[in-house]
Each structure stands twice: as structure tokens, then as C-alpha cells.
Point group: C2
Chain length 149, copies 2
């Protein structure tokens, strides 16, 4: 039997991270960074707990992945993230020269595509992997938050 | 006698930070964040030393200023930075809702204006303060770097 590590497998790991964020009262966004079928960084949104707008899941994972690799460029890496990155995170991915970006749910308001943020020319983008699961988690978060306020 | 704390005063402090970066072999960009005439955060580019593309001066200062204030929004704050911010840093400033951004040198290639990055609607922008000094420092860095390689 061969284990299949496909985009859905890794996006499921990113969704687990998003669930950790949810449990902490954070907007549920999670990420993993993968190289050669190995997860080298994980992260979830911590902007509220850390009181820091820069503490998006992707930013933490970029720093962690570079730390693991011992170099600041993420060539050969794939980022799996449950929500389309914002301007800041896409701008960080631009500098990282990451090879692949895979995201689940789209962000029609503040996503990098709507905002016109440029990724690195070498970065290939795949979207929609486990989109329904990621969107459902985000919707559940905002419904619960609305009901609490 | 009254001490004058004007834009040039604070930009000079940002330039001091840029010089620290220069001495460490980093692209010389420096920043201070000010509220009520008080510097609450300083930073300089550390991408090489930290092996981290997210370690721009602005990102560190946004985190430090929020830490000082005990909240993630930088309302009432002014960031003085010696180079026009990139997409990532402008994207972080967007989330921070900072009141004022003052930068010295422009970055016609990778600056946020060329890239079309959106700042928060409440953020007022001033540019060109001590532009010559900031540009001269950057030029000196790249000339020295070229001669070393």
C-alpha cells in the first residue's frame, strides 16, 4: 500500500491548524509549508492573542520554514493555506520566491487577487482545494462571534 | 527654548536605525513609530541576519509598537521609514490602521505605490522627508556591495 500525499492531504493538515485558531477565538486560518512531501512548518492565525496584525498564519509559517531550511528563500516549497492570502502575506510570499501556493477558500474582499498584490513570477497558484470545508469553518466562526456579541 | 520635534527630527532617528542595518551588512532601511511626539518603537532591516524575508524594519516596528500600546491597532501613530514600504509592509500597515506614514526615499521598482498596494483609507501619507540622505545611504550600500563581490 502506498500512502497518498496529495493536495487534499496537506490542506487537511492546514485545516487542523485553522481549527486550533478557531478554538482560541481567532479567525480560523491555518497553514502548512511542505517540501519533498514533508511538512516543515505549521501555523495558525494569532492576531488577537498576540495583539499583532502581522501574526497571520502565513507570516509565522514563512519565518518557521526559512528557519527550518536555514535560508530565507522557500524555493521548492508549497504553502497550503485555508484562505486566500491578504496583501501582506502575498507580499511576504513574493519575497520568499515560494514555488507553489495552494489555497482553499477565496477572499473576495481582502484577498491578494482583488487587491492586485503581485506574487513572484516563479510562484504557481492552485485554488479551491477543500474550499467548502475551509469556507464552512470561517462561516461558523463569524456566526458564533455574531451571536456572542 | 522649545525643542522642535518635526518630521525631519524623527526621520533622522529612522536614518540612525538605517545606519545600524548598514553596519550589519543589511540593506539600510530604518524606522521609528511615534505617538504624541514619543518614539514607541524602532527597527531596522534584519532579513539577512535572521534569514527571514519578513524581517523588514517596518514589520518589526509594527509588532513592537502594538506591544507597547497593548493593542494591535496603531491609531494615532506615525511611522517614519527611510524607504517607501513594499507590498508586505504596506499590507501590514493596512491592517494596523496607522494614522500617518512618512517615508524618505521612493522605491520605484518594488514600492507599494508602483505595486498598487492599498493602505487603510484613514492613513495619511507624506513622502520625501530627508529623501536625499536616505537615498545616498542606500546608494552607498549597493556600491560597496558591488565592489565586494
Amino acid at each position: 500500500m502506498q500512502l497518498v500525499f496529495d493536495d487534499s492531504y496537506f490542506m487537511r493538515k492546514a485545516l487542523e491548524e485553522a481549527e486550533y485558531a478557531f478554538e482560541k477565538g481567532e479567525i480560523p486560518v491555518g497553514v502548512v509549508v511542505v517540501i519533498d512531501q514533508q511538512i516543515i512548518a505549521r501555523g495558525h492565525n494569532l492576531t488577537e492573542l498576540l495583539n499583532d496584525v502581522t501574526a497571520h498564519a502565513e507570516m509565522q509559517a514563512i519565518t518557521a520554514a526559512a528557519n527550518f531550511l536555514g535560508g530565507k528563500y522557500l524555493k521548492g516549497c508549497t504553502m497550503y493555506v485555508t484562505l486566500e492570502p491578504c496583501q501582506m502575506c502575498a507580499g511576504a510570499l513574493y519575497w520568499s520566491q515560494i514555488s507553489n501556493l495552494v489555497f482553499a477558500a477565496t477572499d473576495p474582499d481582502r484577498g491578494y487577487r482583488k487587491m492586485g498584490t503581485r506574487l513572484h513570477p516563479k510562484t504557481k497558484v492552485t485554488s479551491g482545494i477543500m474550499e467548502n470545508e475551509a469556507s464552512a469553518l470561517l462561516k461558523r466562526f463569524f456566526i458564533e462571534k455574531r451571536n456572542l456579541n
